[in-house]
Structure formats: structure tokens, C-alpha cells
């Protein structure tokens, strides 16, 4: 269970997260929607401990991310996929995937490599395992990024606008993989601008505006005229996103 309670984050004079409450239970796929600057990515960065909280608390399976000792445990339980991939440039695709299992989980190298190759094969990269990031396309890099997160067998997958840097064709490749993961029961927190996709894979949708969590509803209700759409701000956001 990921539990965020009254989370506050301030950058200088800007309050980016203003008392956000969010609970993600195992098996759920929760999409976080909102305009840019609404605090979506910051919320993810607070969950994986990349940002220090200015108020409230976040626990991942009861491990408090604001305590250094517990953060290490919390981080073992969640995997993050980034908008800009952030692959290690000096390592091959396979090495990117096996680094943390070997160094953090102390898995035997041969085992980790066999699993890493299987993971890469499952996203259609069997023949690219020994390529370096600079030799891969954007879509391929992001698929490696997903494998790198999955290799740690995380209970929660945090996805931070993972298709925003990809063209539509590559986006489709990556979304197919995420849909498959959702079907397999992977718990996901999904920050995205892909509204239609969010609608098809999420069990819940939350809407952030100016650092506040405005709506937290099951997907069907969120998109229903008397549900989330009854909120004029959400209706406006959705119609604008669909036009783009």
C-alpha cells in the first residue's frame, strides 16, 4: 500500500503540492491527470524519495520515505520509469537492467542476466540486449527503462509521463507493454497525458490542480457526465486534451 497523507511540497514561493492525500492498494492502476505544473510529477518524485517533503507523510508498505533507513526499503518496493528514460549511457541495455538486481538485491550475476534477457525479450528487444542506449531509438530506450524498473520485481511501478518524449508510433509500443502489465495485475501509479489510454487501463483516476487533489474516482465515474465531468475544470481539461 502506498499512502500519502497531507503531502506538502514547496519550491521557493510556489506551493507545488498542497495537502495531497492518495492511497494506492496492491493491484490498482491509478492514473494521475492534470495540466502541466499541477504537481503530478512532483508527487511521483515525493513517493520515490527524490524530493523531500515539506509537510505530511508518505509510506510505501509502511516504510516512511522521509526516513533515510526506511527509504532504502521503500525504494526496493517501487520501480520508477522516467519521461526522459535516464538510462546509464555507459552500460548496455542488459547491464542497465541487471545493475540493481546484482548490486542491491545481491542476485547472482548469471541469474540476473538470464532474467534480464527474458525481460528484454518480452518487450521485443531480445536482439538489442548488448546495444548501448545511444544505439537505440527513443521507444527502445523507454522499453529498456521499463525492464530496468521491472527487474527489481517492484510491488509498485511509478510511471512519470513515460511516453511524453516519444512519437505516436513509439508511444503505441510502450503503451502496449503497460497494458499487458496492467492486465497481469501490476500495481501502477501512472502520470500521463494519454487520456484515452488512462481510461482503458486505470482502475482509478485522480485529478490534480495547482497542487491540490481535486477528484479521486473510479475510472468509470471519473469520465461520467455526473461524475468527474461535472467538475467544470475537469471537463475543460479533458476537452482541451482531446482537441490536441
Amino acid at each position: 500500500m502506498i499512502k500519502a497523507q497531507s503531502v506538502r511540497k514547496v519550491f521557493g514561493s510556489v506551493t507545488v503540492l498542497d495537502g495531497v492525500d492518495l492511497t494506492v492498494a496492491p493491484g490498482e492502476v491509478v492514473s494521475i491527470l492534470g495540466s502541466s505544473g499541477s504537481g503530478k510529477s512532483t508527487l511521483i518524485r515525493c513517493i520515490n524519495g527524490l524530493e523531500r517533503l515539506d509537510g505530511g507523510s508518505i509510506t510505501v508498505d509502511d516504510f516512511d520515505v522521509s526516513k533515510p533507513k526506511e527509504l532504502a526499503e521503500a525504494r526496493k518496493r517501487s520501480g520508477t520509469v522516467f519521461q526522459m528514460f535516464n538510462l546509464y549511457p555507459h552500460m548496455t541495455a542488459l547491464q542497465n537492467v541487471t545493475l540493481a538486481p546484482v548490486e542491491v538485491l545481491k542476485r547472482p550475476k548469471a541469474e540476473a542476466e538470464a532474467e534480464g534477457r527474458a525481460l528484454l525479450a518480452s518487450v521485443g528487444l531480445a536482439d538489442r540486449a548488448d546495444a548501448f542506449p545511444s544505439q537505440l531509438s527513443g521507444g527502445q530506450r523507454q522499453r529498456v527503462g521499463i525492464c530496468r524498473a521491472l527487474a527489481m520485481k517492484p510491488r509498485y511501478l511509478l510511471l512519470d509521463e513515460v511516453t511524453s518524449a516519444l512519437d505516436p508510433e513509439m508511444t503505441a509500443d510502450v503503451l502496449d507493454i503497460l497494458a499487458k502489465l496492467a492486465k497481469e495485475g501490476t500495481t501502477m501509479v501512472f502520470v500521463t497525458h494519454e487520456i484515452e489510454f488512462a481510461r482503458t487501463i486505470s482502475s482509478r483516476v485522480v485529478f490534480l490542480e495547482k497542487g491540490r487533489l481535486v477528484v479521486d474516482l473510479p475510472t468509470e465515474q471519473f469520465f461520467a457526465a455526473d461524475g468527474g465531468l461535472a467538475n467544470p475544470r475537469i471537463a475543460q481539461f479533458l476537452s482541451k486534451m482531446r482537441k490536441d
Binding site: G49, R75, T80, N86, L87, Y88, E103, V104, S134, R148
Partner: protein
């Protein structure tokens, strides 16, 4: 005038000894300045203000004082307050400290050039601070730092000739002795020129090979 290198033949074993000493000093000092430089680069990019300031003072101090002054201070100055170090050790330590100041600069800029997201990815994957540094930060920084570091190292080899001023008979030291023995400075220093040029050329070849190896994913673009 006639140039006759053959008259140097009897002195060759002696000069070779000097060359060997130069090689020893340089290898140790290169390692030393790499270690000192890497540590100081970490300190200079650390979040700890005190550590950062201390390391900056170190780098500024040793970059801004002539090497020969540093060397004389260690070798002739320190004994005044009871600290005696032999010429060889003094040479290696002085070169490591001075070289470390320049190396820390080069590695520091390599570290600052790393995409922050890459380091964040390593952090959230659960790697400890030391692992993030040894597995990600240092190797990625070296990809861009290795070439400028080569210049620092070559300079270090050239600077090692100054150690002849503290009674260390390395290559330059032996050459000076041979030149005054034979009254043939032209021939002696021609040999010296070639010896240093060969030594530094070898190092630059090594650096180029290392650069290619560290950036092997980029193929022809980096050659």
C-alpha cells in the same frame, strides 16, 4: 660542429636508471593524483558546505602556487619544523597533490555535466550512495573527463623534471650530470628531448585508447 651521440654510450645505463626513476615517480604520481583528484572532485560537488569549501581552497591553493615553490616548501621547508621526508617520497607526494588539484577540476566538470536524471534513476533503484558514485557517477564523468585528464597527466610527466632540483636523479637529473661530465650539452639534451617526447606520446596514445574504450558506444564520432 660535429654531433657524435656515440660518446654518450658509456652513460646510457646511468641515464636509463634516471629514466626508470622518472617512470616510477610518474606512475605513482598519476595514480596519486587520480585518487586525490577523484576524492577532491567528490568533495567539491558534495552537498556539505564545509567539505565543498575546504576542497575548493585546496584546489585554488595548489593551482596558484608554482610547483617548484611547493616542492621546496615540502623538501627544504618542512624539516625546519621537524618533518623529514626523503626526496623520492616528497616528489611523488608533491606531484600527487599538485596534479590532484588539476585532476579534481577536470573530474568535477565531468560530474557536473552528467544528466541529473541518470543519477536519480540510480538512486531510486536502491543503490547506496557509494555504489551510485562508483558505478554511475565516476564512470560517466570519466567518459568526458579522460581526454582533458590526459593533458593534466602529460603535464605531470613534464613537471616531474623539476624533481631534479631536490637531489632526485631522475631523467633530467642524470642528464644534467652527464652534460657537465662530458661537456656535450647539445647531445645530452637532444636525447632528453626525445626521451620525454616518447614518454608523453605513449601516455597520449594510452589516453586516446581509454577514451575510445569508455565511449565505445558512440563509434566513429569520438575518434
Amino acid at each position: 660542429m660535429r654531433i657524435d651521440l656515440s660518446l654518450l654510450v658509456p652513460y646510457l645505463p646511468f641515464m636509463l636508471e634516471g629514466a626508470l626513476l622518472t617512470a616510477q615517480v610518474c606512475v605513482l604520481a598519476l595514480l596519486g593524483s587520480l585518487i586525490v583528484g577523484a576524492l577532491m572532485a567528490v568533495a567539491r560537488t558534495s552537498a556539505n558546505t564545509l567539505l565543498r569549501r575546504a576542497a575548493s581552497i585546496y584546489a585554488d591553493l595548489f593551482r596558484n602556487v608554482p610547483f617548484i615553490v611547493q616542492l621546496f616548501f615540502f623538501y627544504y621547508g618542512l624539516p625546519e619544523i621537524g618533518i623529514y621526508i626523503d626526496a623520492f617520497t616528497t616528489g611523488v607526494v608533491a606531484l600527487s597533490i599538485a596534479g590532484g588539484a588539476f585532476t579534481s577540476d577536470v573530474i568535477r566538470s565531468g560530474i557536473l555535466a552528467i544528466e541529473p536524471g541518470i543519477i536519480e534513476a540510480a538512486q531510486v533503484s536502491g543503490l547506496s550512495k557509494t555504489k551510485v558514485f562508483s558505478k554511475i557517477v565516476l564512470p560517466v564523468a570519466l567518459r568526458t573527463s579522460v581526454r582533458p585528464m590526459g593533458s593534466v597527466f602529460i603535464n605531470l610527466i613534464l613537471t616531474s623534471s623539476i624533481l631534479s632540483t631536490i637531489t632526485l636523479n631522475e631523467l633530467t637529473g642524470t642528464a644534467k650530470i652527464v652534460a657537465s661530465d662530458t661537456f656535450k650539452p647539445f647531445e645530452v639534451y637532444v636525447v632528453l628531448l626525445i626521451a620525454y617526447a616518447t614518454l608523453t606520446y605513449l601516455v597520449s596514445l594510452l589516453i586516446a585508447a581509454l577514451h575510445r574504450r569508455l565511449n565505445r558506444d558512440l563509434g566513429e564520432a569520438v575518434r
